[in-house]
Amino acid sequence: MEYLLLIYSNEKAWSAMARPELDAIYGEYHALTESLKASGTYKGGNPLQATSTATTVRVRGGKTLATDGPFAETKEQLGGYYLVDARDLDEALAIAARIPSARMGSIEVRPIQRM
């Protein structure tokens, strides 16, 4: 089953981190990605640029409205994702727990809609 693992964490805390700490975390992410690729679970994944670079589009009554910023102001912001093919929810949850940001943020695990 495919799952999208949405990685949420506090951007301010992230940007306040010292370089060595940041490098260590990126190292962990790299290792996790390699591990998921090796096990055949990895289907995709990316870090996202900060919400300051986001633009939100809505079409209402035929009019397109584009506004600066994410769709909603939240305490934790979407910072990245993994798309995985896991045996079941338990396996997806176990992968989510290995994501470095799980320690300071939240990982939402959502099954992909089967058509």
Partner: protein
């Protein structure tokens, strides 16, 4: 053969295997109902089979298969994810066995999966393992029947849609997952224990059901000492049920209860479980709570209660699972062991910390200590505070009485000489 009794006693076990075989909660349930219907028709005439449970499972399995074939989704749509070769027929083409020893454990853990909301876990556990109908569960939790039905539907839907697997957690996952199971059972127990004489019979039966399920977990996981601890705690707590309320439904304090009305068989069973529960360090929280309950159960009278040991155990509990409520209970025990003057500073410290703001038992405890110290005016003030916060009838009546006594004592107390 009393089919109702067979259903009541075995439906959980039957369902546990069928869900694995059929790959879906609803289909398994439907198939089981159909099998029981056939049994109701055939057994009176043909006589009952040598192994009734096996007969039901086998019949249900065939009915489910027939339906799957008819719906032509046999090969395509992914059924409930089941680990290794336990599907209706595995890779080798051999039929999966009807009953596996782990089936009930699979069901226990799946019903309490962390991905399900707490209320859903409770409902699903009672429905599938406990064999309670939607209506019975709704009545027990004082919730409209359609609400409870929806709760169950959503839970089963999530199991299917999110891919919650039907399995026993791995060794590494077991401690955490077991905690979830025990928390579910404890919730069920407390609901039943809080039931009063006026409540429906099913509500009071919840404690019985929780104990039965806890026994099952202990049986299926003999190494799980916290399961033993929880069962001991439930038995020892439940042993006092007949003495807790008087004829009017009013609360009877532990120290005033008629101990002859305590269930000695339950106490014996609870005490026997304790050594196993307390084995290993550090002790689990349920085991410690059970040990405290055991000290009450062992005391032939309130006066003989070993409050020093109880206070020490609350201290242990505070280390093992810290909470302001545990700290309060410890303060009360210290006051019983060493006098109200020893307990009062602890209670006042808790007041200052503020974590128990709005908790009526904090005010009630403080009031009681002040009362015992002869500080009646202050006691009255605390009783008033507790009354503002207290919820249910019996507790309010008790606190009102104490308030009256305190006010009377305060007004008749000699005024200190200037």
């Amino acid at each position: 053969m009393d089919l109702d009794r067979l259903f009541r006693e075995e439906s959980g076990r039957i369902l546990a295997s069928l869900i694995r075989l059929v790959g879906d909660f609803d289909r398994a349930e439907e198939a089981m109902q159909e099998a029981f219907a056939v049994a109701a028709e055939r057994w009176p005439a043909e006589g009952e089979p040598a192994r009734p449970r096996s007969w039901i499972i086998g019949t249900a399995r065939h009915k489910a298969l027939d339906r799957l074939r008819r719906e032509r989704i046999f090969a395509s749509k992914a059924p409930l994810l089941v680990e290794t070769g336990a599907r209706v027929s595995d890779a080798s083409g051999a039929e999966a066995p009807d009953e596996l020893p782990d089936d009930r454990l699979r069901l226990v853990f799946t019903c309490s999966h962390p991905a399900l909301p707490l209320e859903a876990r409770v409902a699903l556990t009672l429905h599938t393992l406990g064999g309670l109908t939607t209506e019975e569960i709704a009545r027990a939790f004082v919730v409209p029947q359609p609400t409870m039905a929806q709760r169950l539907v959503r839970a089963k839907r999530k199991i299917r849609d999110a891919g919650i697997p039907y399995r026993v957690p791995s060794r590494a996952e077991l401690p955490e997952r077991l905690e979830g199971v025990l928390a579910t059972l404890y919730l069920v127990f407390n609901e039943g224990y809080a039931a009063t004489a006026g409540d429906s019979l099913v509500r009071r039966d919840l404690s019985v059901e929780a104990i039965r399920l806890a026994r099952l977990v202990v049986e299926l996981l003999p190494g799980a000492r916290e399961a033993r601890g929880l069962l001991a705690l439930m038995l020892l707590t439940d042993s006092r049920r007949d003495a807790r309320t008087d004829a009017r439904g009013d609360l009877v304090l532990l120290e005033e209860q008629d101990r002859r009305r305590w269930d000695s068989a339950a106490i014996a069973e609870g005490l026997a479980l304790l050594p196993g529960a307390l084995s290993g360090a550090p002790p689990g929280p349920y085991a410690v709570e059970a040990a405290i309950a055991a000290l009450h159960a062992r005391a032939a009278s309130a006066a003989e209660t070993d409050w020093r040991q109880i206070a020490a155990l609350y201290g242990t509990l505070q280390r093992v699972r810290p909470s302001p409520v545990v700290a309060l209970n410890r303060a009360v025990a210290v006051a019983m062991a060493a006098g109200p003057e020893a307990g009062l500073p602890l209670v006042e410290e808790l007041e200052r910390e503020g974590a128990l703001a709005g908790y009526h038992l904090l005010s009630a405890a403080k009031a009681d200590l002040l009362r015992r110290l002869g500080r009646h005016a202050e006691a009255a003030a605390s009783y008033r505070e507790a009354l503002v916060l207290a919820g249910n009838g019996p507790e309010r009546r008790f606190l009102s009485r104490r308030l009256e006594e305190a006010e009377r004592a305060a007004s008749s107390a000699p005024i200190a000489a200037p």
